[in-house]
């Protein structure tokens, strides 16, 4: 008991000394809780952002919380309880918009809080279209796209090169993996039902648009394995359970290049999404100062380009694109694996987030009812 007290008070003294030192030197010591997705993605953030930052800031402790999947619900609960323990939260674009709308995320002054681009461009110009709302600090562009097995005998040497091959059970028989959510699936279904890309949301808005998409999905329904976690499709492909499936492009990269499975990418009509940071609103001053300093560093041109060394997601800054180099372990060029690479992005989709905000409750219910039939 006595020893414990001694150690505790010793620890407290040491902590005091460190913080006193830090306060004197403008150091960002203390601890910071960052919320992310776990797995390879979080590792890439640690390698590219937080590890070099910690090397410059002695005494800064970074705590990672793998809760991004439920960030909206958890942040709401935290604000209701009046105890926000998160300092920085990694979320997808739509979730960021939601948190910003609900007043749970802080509004960002892009010009002062973010670093200008290495090429001299202002932050707003550099990030461009990825600044989807007033609270969101973009990091990466990722895409949801298809991967297929390259060794399917029944295909007679053909390989799918068109999104609609997913819906073609005669030429490309076998099971497919699709996400257990309507978003993206109904857009893909309509595209392959003859709807032009520009008319997608007009058709969906019209009478029977959603039903038309579900009817198209019906044609392959008994050949679909539905996934709810991004890691499922790579596993299903590797096991040979499915012959093609949708998932995030970084997951497919790791199956193809890191695990060397007989799988290839089908980039046609990949769906782009942004992922980035939001800062919880009304943080205490000391925590806010710490986070802002970190974010400015972690989203500068070099850091965003560095992240692409560890995972195949495209940096959100235009000025980072030319700096994308080779994979840290494999040594391969990363540029051809980026979803934003012109060769990969010949045809692509971006979800109409406004339409989805209006209709997701309705469409989700219809989709789940259709699934359960």
């Amino acid at each position: 008991m006595k020893l414990k007290t001694l150690m505790l008070s010793g620890g407290a003294l040491a902590a005091l000394a460190v913080s006193a030192y830090a306060a004197g030197h403008g150091n960002m010591a203390g601890s910071m809780t960052i919320v992310s997705w776990g797995g390879a993605y979080q590792k890439s953030q640690i390698n590219a952002y937080s590890a070099p930052y910690q090397a410059m800031n002695d005494g800064l402790e970074v705590i990672w919380d793998e809760s991004s999947n439920e960030a909206v619900a958890k942040m709401r609960a935290m604000y209701e309880a009046g105890n926000v323990t998160w300092d920085l939260v990694d979320v997808e674009g739509p979730d960021a918009t939601r948190l910003c709308d609900e007043g749970l995320a802080m509004e960002i002054d892009f010009e002062t809080m973010l670093a200008p681009g290495d090429d001299g461009s202002t932050p707003a110009d550099d990030f461009g279209d990825s600044l989807i709302n007033d609270c969101f600090i973009p990091q990466i562009v990722f895409s949801t796209t298809f991967g297929y097995r390259t060794d399917v005998e029944a295909w007679g040497g053909n390989a799918p090169d068109d999104l609609c091959d997913v819906f073609d059970l005669e030429a490309f028989p076998g099971k497919r993996a699709l996400e257990k959510r309507p978003k993206k699936n109904i857009e893909w279904a309509l595209l392959c039902d003859g709807v032009a890309k520009d008319d997608l949301y007009d058709v969906l808005d019209g009478e029977g648009g959603v039903e038309r998409a579900l009817a198209k999905l019906d044609t392959i329904k008994d050949q679909v394995v539905w996934w709810s976690a991004g890691a499922e499709t790579p596993q299903l492909l590797a096991d040979g359970e499915v012959v093609m499936g949708s998932t995030y492009n970084g997951r497919l990269f790791s199956v193809i290049e890191e695990q060397k499975q007989p799988v290839a990418m089908l980039w046609d009509y990949q769906v782009f999404d942004f992922d980035g940071w939001i800062i919880p609103k009304d943080l205490p001053d000391d925590r806010l100062a710490r986070v802002l300093d970190f974010v400015k560093y972690a989203t500068d041109t070099q850091r965003l380009a560095d992240q692409a060394k560890y995972i195949s997601y495209g940096p959100a800054r235009a000025s980072s694109q030319p700096l994308v180099s080779t994979h840290a372990d494999l040594g391969i060029e990363m540029a051809p694996h980026m979803p934003t690479n012109p060769a990969n992005a010949q045809r692509y989709l971006v979800n109409n987030l406004e339409w989805w905000a209006d209709n997701q409750d309705d469409v989700e219910t219809k989709f789940q009812a259709w699934l359960a039939q």
Binding site: N69, E70, V72, A73, K74, R76, R98, D101, E102, G103, K175, K180, E211, V225, W226, S228, D239, G240, E241, E354, W355, A357, D358, N359, Q360, D361, D362, E364, T365, K366, Q368, A369, W370, L371, A372
Partner: protein, 423 residues
């Protein structure tokens, strides 16, 4: 024996009525006992009962509409939704004023998300209007009916105003109706469109699958428990570890192992193809459907059946079985007439445990259930953690809680809760 003076109450030594002093002594004892459990009681109330009550309360709570649009709600009171006409200028003016205040406080989108659960399109309408209303000099630059209709035609939607009026009360049955595939329409409660019906079917399926899982657990667990209870202690302890081992393994690991075993390119299918029972082109589909859910959950919940069964069977004296046999009963009669009735309390306890755990499961069904093997809890989890519709999630959860309590009550009536034993 009897005496005239003894017809009154029995007195204690100190002259007080014995009954009262006994009560006092007991009360003191009860208070002491209560004081002893007080920390636990308070802990349970604060960390368990209160949060659940708070969550359940959200299933009827609806003050966001009247808090955000107080003037509109008041002005809409006299509007007759059935008249077929739009509300008059006073309502539009009230809406403009409410929206301007809400926009400044960043509350209008939160409200729009709430109203969007009932009718699609409010989200973008409020967002668009919010950007405009900021520039207006409310209430001096009317008329607002024209201005709002200029911003978006949707302000002329009869349905929108009806929904705002219907949901203007502080409490609403709306979430509970939604949870039962119904909604508040213009003519009161009505069924939702067939293409949106899902929850009643999910509740039925959850019940059905939970019963199947409970029965499978009894069928598999009873012989194991019987074996454990009748073997010598040293052997049964060894076997007991085998029962408990999966218990200590992560749920996710066990669920993933079933994937490896059951999938089409999995171990079981490979073996069946290898010995020629199944054609390579027609491998069995054993996962991502109800079968997968039943197998994986039966396995995961089996220890909850075996342990109470075992501890009850352990208390059945072997001499009863010997006595029955020595009186000429066959093995079967002995088991069925003597042994089995005494083990029923264990089946009761195990069944309650397994059934109640099964009904609330969602991780395993999500991973192995495909489309027809998922439970209502999967929908509850979705609404709580993904869609943000906590009201609907809370309503679904409340219904589930009520159903479980009702089943418990029926069980008590039929079997009797005294007839349940954990050993």
């Amino acid at each position: 024996m009897s005496d005239a003076t003894q017809t009154g109450p029995v007195l204690a030594a100190d002259g007080r009525p014995l009954k009262r002093s006994l009560q006092r002594a007991l009360r003191a004892q009860k208070m002491r006992a209560l004081a002893l459990i007080a920390p636990l009681l308070i802990f349970v109330l604060l960390t368990f009962v209160a949060p659940i009550a708070d969550m359940l309360f959200r299933s009827v709570e609806n003050s966001i509409v009247s808090d955000t649009l107080p003037r509109t709600v008041l002005a809409l009171k006299d509007w007759d939704a059935k008249s077929g006409e739009l509300p008059d200028e006073s309502v539009f003016a009230a809406m403009a004023e409410d929206l301007k205040i809400a926009e400044a406080e960043k509350k209008h989108i939160t409200l729009a998300i709430r109203l969007n659960y009932q009718t699609s399109g409010v989200s973008s309408l409020f967002r668009k209007t919010g950007r405009q209303v900021k520039k207006w000099d409310v209430p001096n630059d009317g008329p607002y009916m024209e201005k709002l209709l200029d911003v978006d035609d949707d302000w002329g939607s009869h349905e929108l105003w009806r929904v705002i009026q219907t949901y203007s009360a502080n409490y609403t049955p709306g979430y509970f109706l939604n949870a039962a595939d119904m909604e508040l329409g213009p003519d009161g409660v009505q069924q939702v469109d067939d293409s949106q019906k899902i929850y009643v079917m999910m509740f039925k399926r959850t019940m059905f699958l939970s019963i199947v899982i409970t029965v499978s657990c009894i069928a598999l667990g009873y012989p194991v428990a019987f074996l454990l209870a009748s073997l010598p202690l040293r052997t049964s302890n060894m076997l007991m570890i085998l029962v408990l081992l999966p218990f200590w393994t992560s749920l996710l690991v066990r669920t993933s192992s079933w994937k490896v075993l059951l999938q089409q390119q999995g171990v079981i299918n490979d073996i069946l193809v290898w010995i020629g029972l199944v054609d390579d082109a027609n491998r069995l589909v054993m996962i991502n459907n109800q079968f997968g859910t039943i197998v994986a959950m039966t396995h995961i919940l089996l220890p909850f059946m075996i342990l109470p069964l075992y501890s009850v069977m352990k208390t059945i004296p072997p001499s009863y079985v010997r006595a029955s046999k020595s009186l000429g009963a066959t093995n079967w009669t002995t088991f069925w007439r003597v042994y089995f009735p005494q083990s029923v309390p264990g089946i009761g306890a195990g069944s309650i445990l397994v059934f109640i755990l099964a009904i609330g499961y969602y991780i395993t069904p999500e991973l192995v259930g495909g489309t027809d093997g998922i439970f209502i809890s999967n929908r509850i989890a979705f609404h709580i953690s993904r869609s943000g519709n906590w009201g609907l999630g809370a309503a679904l959860g409340s219904i589930l809680l009520i159903v479980v309590l009702m089943l418990y009550w029926i069980y008590d009536k039929i079997v009797g809760i005294d007839n349940v034993s954990l050993g």
